[in-house]
């Protein structure tokens, strides 16, 4: 079984602050991990992924994430945050089962950046 936990349903920060959105996962093997962003009323956009190799991965829009096997986490970071980063962020895990098709999403974290 595989699962993804995003413990913070809402995060509010001031513009210019550093943001870190938490994500932890449970999976019996090495996972593929992803972050996606969803702006209000829109679909999902890919931000970044961890497959293997360097544990700090950089993505679009100035985001990066760090994979930590020791505590099964894949936290998303950005500094400084901008008001346009306000959106809902989803962490996802792709299990290495048959054909790598099973994807599990976390509940999401709604990020609000105050100008």
């Amino acid at each position: 079984a595989q699962s993804v936990d995003q413990p913070d349903a809402h995060v509010t920060l001031s513009e210019g602050a550093s943001l870190e959105l938490r994500c932890s996962y449970s999976y019996s093997a090495a996972p593929y991990l992803f972050w996606y962003v969803q702006y209000p009323g829109q679909s999902l956009q890919f931000l970044l992924k961890y497959i293997t190799g360097d544990t700090v991965v950089k993505g679009t829009k100035g985001f990066e994430a760090e994979f930590r096997k020791s505590n099964s986490s894949f936290n998303l970071k950005k500094s400084p945050a901008h008001w346009s980063d306000s959106a809902k962020y989803f962490c996802a895990l792709e299990g290495l089962g048959y054909g790598n098709e099973k994807i599990t999403f976390g509940a999401g974290t709604k990020l609000t950046i105050k100008p």
């Binding site: 829109q42 679909s43 999902l44 956009q45 890919f46 992924k49 098709e101 999403f105 999401g108």
Partner: protein, 110 residues
């Protein structure tokens, strides 16, 4: 460049009526295709995936079915809608590991 199109953009349907949602991907050959459902304000639930024409695997049972009649087309359907089917339906494609999402279809069942 690849494009993903979903239709319709939005639907309002009655309980018990049939539904058909479509998704087409242009610019990619033999992609993996996926259907997701998102309740308002909720997370994404993977419904189906397909790695080749004519083959569809179900991930959860929600009284929905899916078909892949062509390499670039993925259809989601049901003969009888339930109130619980309301939400946002997203189609996605991938070739290797990263999924790319379509614009989605909003469905309201009354």
């Amino acid at each position: 460049a690849q494009t993903i199109h979903q239709w319709p953009v939005a639907e309002i349907k009655a309980v018990g009526s049939p539904l058909s949602l479509g998704c087409t991907i242009k610019g990619k050959s033999s992609p993996n295709l996926y259907w997701y459902w998102q309740a308002t304000g909720g997370t994404l639930q993977q419904l189906f995936y397909s790695i080749t024409v004519g083959q569809v695997e179900s991930v959860v049972q929600l009284n929905l079915s899916a078909s892949r009649p062509k390499d670039d087309q993925f259809i989601l359907s049901t003969e009888k809608l339930l109130l619980s089917h309301s939400g946002f339906y997203l189609c996605a494609w991938s070739l290797k590991d990263t999924q790319y999402f379509g614009p989605g279809t909003r469905l309201l069942v009354l």
